[in-house]
Symmetry: C2
Subunit: 113 residues, 2 copies
């Protein structure tokens, strides 16, 4: 997500975290624009709580999306534009990736006082 001002959450459990980690292939085009479009689309999914991304230059990228329940994840995973972007990701952008769908059992946060 652009311009993060702090970590997302924590939220009241239970909720879901979808961890997406990836290594980019070289020379892909349209990755940034599609990413921005996906940010817009996921924000409209009922039960979407928030997301955050980080990519160390030259290294692995991690995006975590937070969802209220399985229905919200299903809605996002079945979105046609999202599915098209996933296909394009495999064909053009990613050298490799992993996805972990996980139910958050507890969470906590800290903000400097």
């Amino acid at each position: 997500m652009s311009d993060p001002v702090g970590p997302v959450g924590p939220f009241e459990p239970p909720y879901y975290a979808v961890v997406f980690t990836s290594v980019l292939a070289e020379g892909g085009q349209g990755y940034g624009e599609t990413g921005e479009r996906m940010d817009e689309l996921v924000a409209a999914v009922p039960g979407f709580l928030g997301a955050e991304s980080a990519r160390t230059p030259g290294g692995v990228g991690i995006t975590v999306g937070y969802f209220r329940d399985e229905d919200a994840i299903r809605a996002w995973q079945s979105d046609p534009e999202h599915r098209a972007a996933q296909r394009r990701g495999r064909e053009e952008w990613y050298e490799s990736y992993a996805v972990h769908v996980a139910k958050v059992e507890r969470s906590y946060g800290y903000v400097r006082g």
Copy 2:
């Protein structure tokens, strides 16, 4: 973790993902050295599966640690050196952070053929 060559996992569910997201404060000292020591220590915890980190310059950092079960998480969270580092993190390194402890229900991966 240093020199990632690809995403960690996926592993055979169930397992746990501990998502740690943070924004750094300005001017902290000893952050990198302590991080390297924590990488060493966690690798020795029985049931630790792997971890990965990314930090966008000037933005949010995300570290995800993967553990076989709750016992492994407890062992890591009760490690005295880790606890001391956490205290120091609040006092010196982090502007804010959030932790999400989540049980992975399904996972999958892709590697370019």
